[in-house]
Symmetry: C2
Subunit: 754 residues, 2 copies
């Protein structure tokens, strides 16, 4: 479509476009044309080419190629017509100077800590060692101690270990990747008195048990190592020295010793080829059945007879990170920002993580630039962001969000994030008041493998998930399946925890966010954060033909276009009210289950049942007594949830009746009320012990790391036996929901002519 | 205690003894003295010595040592004062003449099929090969075909395989041991069109994953092989040529071709050292996660590119088996028999299986003989049985029970079985109308490890079992835990399926049975049916000091003594009524769940949900449609269950009020009514498709093999979508329960003075 004709259409059908964006039904012919134009500018091969270039050298924070990539991205944004710049921050980013891991004793062994390059793969191109295997923000140290195996190193594993009569005090622990976030593993080890922590990748979790190993198949080869951050992001992400504020040149910084998110004990990640030697050195009892991996050995808890020597020494200097920010100013509402981001830094080459999502983002930016070149202008301002420093701790996005917090609170409409992408089914997470918008887009994007819409495929997946006998939260899965099966209801989107760049927006500022990715059929998990996450691997195993990377661009592009072109707000409050109602049901049920479990356990302890059943030749002690669970007064939350349903219906009905007839003044008042409505869910108080996290609806779990906790103030207080916090956060959360309902009522009144 | 004083006490306190045996409270001082006397005659070292002698040479059916053991046992019974003899049967018992298993193709491999002897272990004593690894009653054949892996080879595995788009038609299948009974594996393979079947022991299930391997630890070494029978015992156990009748010299026999319990395809068991080579030869898709074992390979479904050559040729002649039968005639009620049995034949040396239980049985027999030598005589007749041919198919017990069926129906009070025994917690299975008796005994036997009664320890175990998040039948486990937690209720005993010698008594004749063993802490599973189930293994890993083998003798001895000394019947009907009520709740719930699952699946199929979610690069088809489940009329069973509760209460109350005052005539009438009451639960019709199994309350599952199915006519009809059988067996089972209630009512009337 040429520039002149396009302009006419877009002006004439403006009001209809607005209405079209409200429904999950078909969009207006005008919007459809625009999106077709947009699609035509997306070329899978181009995405592949960009990935190949960006992934050609190691691109972690501080590497030459990381900076070069930022400059390359900047240049392209500019060439595509965006008003772009690089914003830098100076952040604490430790890099290893020296690492040692040895098994001492009669059969000494020195861990290789190296990933050999693979012929025919980009991994062979980089200098060796390209980037040592390490865990960012571990605590330097030099320790010699016995070794103990603690399965995944999660809380329940330490509970089980205690019953086995084994302590990690003064020991080095070895744990495997999986179950919960990496950073919790050395943190929990440290809290239990361990002096060091080794994390390895068991072949059962992402090695030969799952599929053939790279280069024969997608999975982790014996020498593959998962790097990563162990910064305590459950307290706050971003630069450890500048919580709450941007790490600008002149920012007031904490000392390294003051930074609570840096660990105190040394930690290293290792391969399963190395790990096997250490695991075979363990004596003591055989592990519980669920702790067994797939190495051909008898897994034992330990301790080892031989000592293990672990030493890490890092360079703790500040490094510069490079965020690329690109703006396309809105024609009608320049102070309403639609934000879109994906990070560009990786571990070593980072093809799938994050460059698959970055390529999609670039493709969107180019296509939007091309629409703009044809004469189209967004009504709202579009801000594209390419973050640096995500891998060590969501640093680029967090520092930028903290620096521009006030402005973002005033202007941000929605932040849309992506990260690793691969072949498969749409994955939607985020603020459920944008569920209706996402449903509309998902209905309009066709899945290349099945021919149905990606929304329909997602609905099918959510329905089948409830049949999974292994499903952990069966009731939740069933509730979601029921919604997904109803074509008259919007596609349920999952709550967000953490693990990518939406965190500072959603959980610190209260800006609503969506996470949009494809996945489940590609397989980058086996090379995750290793040297083998390369262009060749992505092309062979994750998204042959870059079909789903391109599809991600088409999907998110639609979200951006509809958001930037609509006059009326795009929130739909009913979906959010339904989600709150479901979450409340869950926390009430949780309290009841905890109460029953504590009562049952008390009787069993009283009757010595655990002691009587225990095999006296094994150390199997009694479990730690659970606190008895009082009755909680959920009434404030129940009332707030009921009120939200009523207010949501009032608002949604009013919005559906509105349209072109709304006066500019009333439109502006509605926009103002709804632009910041999600911020009512962010409390100044924040969550217990971690006030950086202000959102009272969504948070990463303190004991899951990435996994989401909904109504976190209440839910985690129940889980963690903090009874006072339960009652306190029932009230705080109810207050937040009531404030949200107040806004809805005000907006409805304006829409209804008030 | 001397003979004269003992006699006086036993006569004087006779009535009190009767009453004592009714309650689970303390027995009379007299009975306690008798049992103390009995205990004093049990010597753990003596049990160990017998085991060492009986396990010194291979003792499978047809081996010289099997016959020698029977003669040795006979001689000892006689020496201990029993009226004993050997009863022989001539049964079809195939032994391998020739076995071949080869991987053909570019990297040919010949399976060793051998278990090397281990130094310092009895396994080194026998000629090599002691007994080839084979599966009794496989179908001879010589086939070459591609190989397919089908996990445990159970029904659900074939369902999953079908969805993976892989057929076993014309293929040889390789499956691992575990999940269900061995014999179902080649049977299901055959039903799905396979031409051969290999069964191997995966290290995940009983090898190095579980513990160190023998001789370093208890588990299966790489070369260890599980032999066993694959006779289709779900149709009928015993000699395949003489269903329903005893395999006496002149019995009318079927031809081998007519025998439905013999398979038609060749099958062999192999070690994981051998299996690894075959599994590594498999191509095709990666297996579902639950199918992965612990070999350091990527498990694939297949088929293999290379062909596999499997050939087995057997000697199908008749062999003689030797049951030892020892009788001690009752002084008061010689025609009321208390039966006790354990088999003596093993696979190779058979130390744990079956000689641990056999040693206990011998110890009981010696102690009872010693009581008799002191002047005590049982009121009822005691029959001790040492079975041959259990391993190939419960042959010795089945042929004997079939031969003496009419007499047993008239005279048998209860059959008490044991088999493999080891250190741990009491395991009780059987007819729940003897739950009260078992509870009384369990309360009076002290556990050597904890000092509490074995009953109290079992209660603790049943309570903790309900907490297991992996528990398969959670509702059942919870119901059982609730009963176990109540000290005023009897210890729940589990329903019996099959797998040992109680089957013909309980399920064919309707004679009530109890299975009594200890276990859970010893570890003979890793050498089960291998050459390494030796005296040394049992002594090191299963029951050091033969403490629990001796404890089994003390436990079962008490049951035998109380049963043989009581005047009044020892059934307590309330426990049985409670069990029926629980089972009925379960089958009704099962029907509801099946109905809901079928409805959900129909909607998902209609919406193409399975097809939409499937990865098109993998063959993941839609599941086979479930039949829609009609509403069943459970009313007859509900009414029968309610009536049973009422009748049970009436009988139990009447029994509690009775005592010494009952006239000999009325006592005889009550005894007659109650002696055969359990036979009312055995219907002439038998179960669908397998009329040998007549018991309508307990049966081995047709798709579990050993695992029990309660109310099997109804439950399995629901599980297997045979809707007509559901309604038919609701009525048949209700009739049986009503007949049982009729008996209770009659007995109560007599007790109440009628």
């Amino acid at each position: 479509m040429h520039r002149s004709s396009f302009l006419v259409v877009s002006v004439v059908l403006c009001a209809a476009t607005v209405l079209g964006a409200q429904a999950s039904g078909p969009v207006t012919p005008d919007q459809a044309t625009l999106e077709k134009e947009f699609d035509a500018a997306i070329h899978p091969d181009e995405l592949g080419g960009w990935m190949k270039s960006l992934a050609s050298q190691p691109n972690h924070v501080g590497s030459p190629h990381d900076k070069a990539n930022a400059e390359w991205i900047l240049a392209h944004f500019k060439a595509w017509g965006w008003d772009a710049h690089i914003e830098t921050f100076d952040v604490l980013y430790p890099t290893p100077i020296h690492e040692t891991l040895k098994l001492l004793g009669r059969k000494p062994f020195k861990a290789t800590l190296q990933e050999k390059p693979i012929k025919g793969d980009s991994s062979a191109a980089a200098k060796d060692p390209a980037l040592p295997a390490y865990l960012a923000y571990q605590g330097d140290g030099d320790v010699k101690a016995e070794l103990v195996y603690v399965n995944y190193g999660m809380k329940e594993d330490y509970d089980a270990l205690e019953r086995l009569g084994v302590s990690v005090k003064g020991k080095i622990v070895i744990v495997r990747y999986g179950s919960g976030w990496r950073g919790l593993k050395p943190k929990l080890a440290q809290e239990h008195g361990a002096v060091g922590c080794i994390i390895y990748s068991d072949p059962r979790d992402d090695g030969y048990s799952v599929e053939a190993t790279y280069p024969n198949g997608p999975m982790r080869p014996p020498q593959g190592i998962q790097r990563g951050s162990v910064q305590d992001m459950t307290l706050y992400p971003g630069d450890p020295l500048t919580p709450d504020i941007g790490a600008t040149k002149d920012a007031k910084r904490l000392s390294v010793a003051q930074a609570r998110t840096i660990l105190k004990i040394p930690a290293l990640p290792i391969s399963y080829a190395d790990a096997r030697v250490f695991l075979e050195a363990l004596g003591g009892q055989v592990v519980p059945a669920a702790w067994r991996g797939s190495l051909p050995i008898t897994y034992r808890v330990g301790p080892s007879k031989a000592l293990v020597h672990l030493a890490v020494k890092s360079d703790w200097s500040l490094k510069t990170i490079y965020d690329v920010i690109a703006v396309m100013k809105g024609s009608a509402y320049p102070d309403q920002w639609v934000l879109r981001g994906n990070h560009h830094d990786g571990w070593v080459f980072g093809a799938s993580d994050p460059l698959s999502g970055q390529a999609a983002l670039l493709s969107e930016a180019k296509a939007i630039g091309s629409l703009a070149a044809s004469g189209w202008r967004p009504k709202r301002t579009i801000v594209y962001t390419s973050w640096d420093g995500e891998e060590p701790g969501l640093i680029g996005s967090t520092e930028w969000a903290e620096t521009h917090g006030d402005e973002l609170k005033q202007k941000a409409i929605l932040y849309i994030n992506s990260d690793t992408n691969n072949r498969g089914i749409l994955e939607l997470g985020g603020s459920q008041d944008f569920e209706h918008l996402a449903t509309g887009v998902a209905a309009d994007v066709s899945d290349p493998e099945t021919g149905v819409s990606v929304g329909q495929r997602l609905r099918a997946k959510l329905r089948l998930a409830a049949l999974d006998p292994e499903a952990k939260e069966k009731d939740h899965a069933k509730a979601i399946a029921k919604i997904a099966a109803d074509p008259d209801r919007d596609v349920p989107i999952a709550a967000l925890g953490s693990g990518s760049d939406y965190s500072a927006f959603l959980q610190h500022l209260g800006v609503p966010a969506l996470s949009v990715e494809y996945g489940g059929e590609g397989n980058s998990g086996g090379v995750y954060h290793s040297r083998y996450d390369t262009f060749e691997h992505h092309k062979r195993f994750d998204d042959p033909g870059f079909v789903y990377d391109a599809l991600l661009a088409k999907t998110i592009g639609r979200l951006v276009l509809r958001l930037s072109d609509a006059d009326l707000p795009l929130q739909q409050a009913g979906d959010f009210a339904d989600s709150i109602s479901l979450y409340l049901t869950e926390v009430k049920k949780l309290a009841g289950e905890k109460r029953e479990a504590a009562e049952t356990q008390a009787k069993l302890l009283n009757d010595r049942a655990f002691a009587l059943v225990a095999d006296p030749t094994k150390s199997s002690g009694t479990p730690t007594p659970l606190k008895q669970v009082p009755q909680f007064d959920f009434a404030p939350l129940e009332k707030a949830s009921e009120r939200l349903k009523t207010s949501a219906k009032g608002y949604d009905d009013a919005l559906a009746k509105s349209g072109a007839g709304l006066s500019p003044d009333r439109l502006a008042r509605v926009q103002a009320l709804m632009q910041s409505i999600d911020q009512t869910l962010a409390s100044d108080t924040g969550l217990p012990g971690r006030p950086w996290f202000k959102n009272l609806i969504y948070a990463p779990g303190t004991l899951t790391g990435y996994g989401a906790k909904t109504l976190p103030g209440v839910r985690e207080a129940i889980e963690q036996q903090r009874w006072d916090d339960v009652n306190r956060y029932i009230k705080l959360t109810a207050d937040a929901l009531n404030a949200y309902s107040d806004r809805l009522d005000s907006a409805a009144a304006v829409l209804n002519g008030g």
